[in-house]
Symmetry: C2
Subunit: 466 residues, 2 copies
């Protein structure tokens, strides 16, 4: 497959989509050159297309497949691994005009949305219904299409799972321009291969998603948050599997190390009732949120949880008043912006088996020390998905440190990305670690969806050349 650069296909697409849906150069806007990843270089596409419906998307892909022009899908551009950064001189298909909530189906508890719909839009629409879409990857400006492409996660995954566990069906345009529908408004099916789950998390390399059917859940109105400072990292990591095993089903089970907490407190001006003495003795914090139908049950469960935390060695276990809990979680969600502002050079979001968290945390710090770099952590302890911000300006050093972390985490039974995806920024690390048989199989699967190799070439693995 030879990926060619489009030679100003503007007229052809303008005839098809209307001139307003075809933008080039500076008129398109530099926001299309990149996503939120810290290190990926911005790339200028030849053209940004904004089709209005599935047929237009299919026609664009059909033309691109015939001509060999690369196509990169783009939702809200909030990704963290460069998956929606265009190929130089390629086509960007932006879903900003396909942003309708097609239906909220209360009886089947599903929402059917176009890919450009944001979480904010969906949440607003769901607010009066008593149903929620619980996946929240840290920003409500993210689009559902992008979330499906990345298999986005977030804090509530410890209870509800990630995007994958909520996508029940898709409409998608293959790399041939053919349109398929997968799944439906049901949770179980044994009818052919699970194309839905194959497309979810494929980062735009297999198909362009043009409609998403997601599962909703009944809103549980009562929530309570506990904050527990620990003086030893091993203690906080060791209690996590016990909380999961307790059956209390925490909505949130977040780990925040002392460096990250210091930054969060400074950024927000909160003090959370933490005395200087406690802060001084603390190595890491655990934030646990429980939710339920009834306040009295949540209170009982929180008491049991507090006991469990004390028994595990917590210095304390505060009930956070609702306002403070919301502020702390919002600050935690915004930790990314804090580390970006603080000049972090890269992010690591490996997932490891929950039981290996203590060892993983210790070894990451050992490696950081060995490389003379700074590494701060916080993240989804309940899922084994800790995020590290890496401060190491030297590119070679940084790359060697990241390689060492990824190899070490893989030996502990982990995977390179828990929720951000491989995209372009982790491609080389992924290809270095993944088995050649699995890489080759994935390339063959890609060819089954996209025989011309035009869909997001260079994302997840390098583009195949023949």
């Amino acid at each position: 497959v030879t990926i060619k650069q489009p030679r100003v296909p503007v007229d052809r697409f303008a005839d098809l989509l209307g001139p307003g849906a075809v933008r080039t150069g500076e008129a398109a806007g530099r926001e299309f050159y990149a996503d939120e990843s810290l290190r990926a270089a911005a790339v200028e596409p030849a053209v940004v297309l904004t089709p209005a419906n599935t047929s237009e998307v299919a026609e664009v892909v059909r033309i691109a497949a015939t001509e060999g022009w690369p196509v990169t899908a783009r939702g809200a551009g909030t990704g963290l691994s460069g998956a929606c950064i265009p190929v130089e001189g390629g086509i960007v298909v932006s879903f900003e005009r396909m942003a309708d909530i097609v239906e909220v189906d209360l009886e089947n508890q599903v929402a059917v949305v176009q890919p450009g719909v944001t979480l904010a839009q969906l949440n607003e629409r769901l607010a009066p219904t008593g149903l929620v879409y619980p996946v929240f990857p840290g920003t409500d400006s993210a689009s559902l299409g992008g979330n499906a492409a990345t298999n986005a996660g977030g804090m509530r995954a410890v209870k509800y799972g990630v995007t994958r566990h909520h996508v029940l069906g898709l409409e998608a345009v293959l790399g041939t321009g053919e349109v398929i529908s997968t799944g439906g408004r049901y949770v179980k099916t044994s009818t052919g291969y699970d194309l839905t789950q194959l497309i979810v998390g494929s980062e735009g390399t297999l198909a362009l998603v043009t409609e998403v059917t997601v599962r909703l859940h009944p809103l549980l109105p009562s929530t309570t948050a506990l904050l527990a400072p620990f003086s030893a990292i091993d203690e906080v990591a060791a209690v996590v599997p016990r909380i999961v095993a307790s059956g209390l089903q925490p909505l949130v089970l977040e780990y925040i190390d002392k460096g990250t907490m210091k930054g969060l407190l400074r950024m927000t001006g909160m003090n959370l009732g933490l005395s200087a003495t406690v802060i001084g003795q603390t190595e890491a914090y655990l934030v646990v949120v429980l939710e339920g139908k009834e306040e009295s049950r949540v209170e009982q469960d929180c008491a049991a949880l507090a006991t469990q935390l004390y028994e595990a060695g917590a210095q304390d276990a505060f009930y956070l008043p609702p306002g403070q809990a919301a502020d702390l979680l919002a600050a935690r969600e915004n930790a990314f912006w804090m580390v970006k502002a603080a000049g972090a050079d890269d992010l690591v979001d490996m997932v490891v088996p929950r039981s290996r968290i203590p060892e993983y945390l210790r070894r990451v710090q050992e490696l950081a020390k060995q490389f003379g770099s700074r590494v701060y952590g916080c993240g989804h302890a309940g899922d084994g998905n800790i995020h590290f911000s890496v401060y190491e300006p030297d590119e070679q050093q940084r790359s060697a440190l990241l390689s060492a972390i990824y190899s070490m985490g893989a030996r502990l039974g982990g995977a390179i990305s828990g929720e951000h995806g491989i995209g372009r920024s982790k491609r080389q690390y992924y290809m270095d670690i993944e088995s050649p048989e699995k890489l080759a199989l994935q390339r063959r699967i890609k060819a089954a969806f996209d025989p011309a190799g035009i869909l997001n070439p260079g994302c997840i693995f390098t583009a195949q050349t023949q």
Copy 2:
């Protein structure tokens, strides 16, 4: 691809696996010719192989791929759609010697098992741990490998989901003989394509599963069951979405029509406290089981549930004493054997959106009337997955009736199989209904895993010829 019949490859395999692991003809046993499906014809394989480990499986597949010999994987043979029925003169790989529980990992709440491990074996091993594997497709003699291949479901899917939602990782042998490992001991990952979910439910057509990592859950010790008779089918169907929306998270939410209940009561000799008057006025029953950590909460929730059932028009809402509840559910699980003994000619296990159950039930009965056939139903109302036993001895009539039911259910947004799989027995119906683009895509995906086309050819769709 030309599928050839092995020309007595017995010696070659005996050299490889040892003579005890290679059986032919009557020595293999007729149980290898079929599964539990009602109508699929028994087929004699050339040879039944029982490899002892993954390398032996890989070597068998490598030889078969080179020679073009068809390979059909077999677990416990409890399938209901003929997926493990061999190709005439082909190879059966039986996993009876690969039946070890490799590890029960309490901290990560996973079990790692070989494919021949049965649910009974796993449940016995889990009993003292406080953890459960909640998927129960009606018989504990089923194997985990077979469950993964079929994406088996069962009664508890309304709360816990199906096999798919519990398989976190696999070791599998591709059609090339290559061995891959997918996933791991974690719930979330965004690292390459989801090969785990693609292999689950692929009915042995993509790979031979040689190890399965499944998610476990904390045992909730308290359960209570309610039985509610309704005098109108629409009422019972209409209350189902409301129970799901209530957030009570029923463990079981089963529908039993009057004909099926009559058979169950006769088969077991139970009366469940149902008076002749109530039985006479009842069109269908709902059985709901709630579970929880604490008995007092479960009792409260049951009271709320009973109110909901009465408001929906239930004639009554009995608490079933634990013994009776277990007996009724066991009888419901065994309904398959009852209908088999009663001479049922086929089974339908379509899944439809929960909201369409009333219409689906009504239309199935209209079609049965139109064809002059008898059709009885019971099943997983909470999932939209109702099972029908079809009594229609005339093959042409039956086939026309099934076609009509499948087309009608598909128009309601359903899929042909909720949990039994397509296998060989529903292949033609599936190929008639599925879009040509999706069929072609699935064939290309199969070729990516199995370029020689040797893995279970003729299952899900007809074998590809070039």
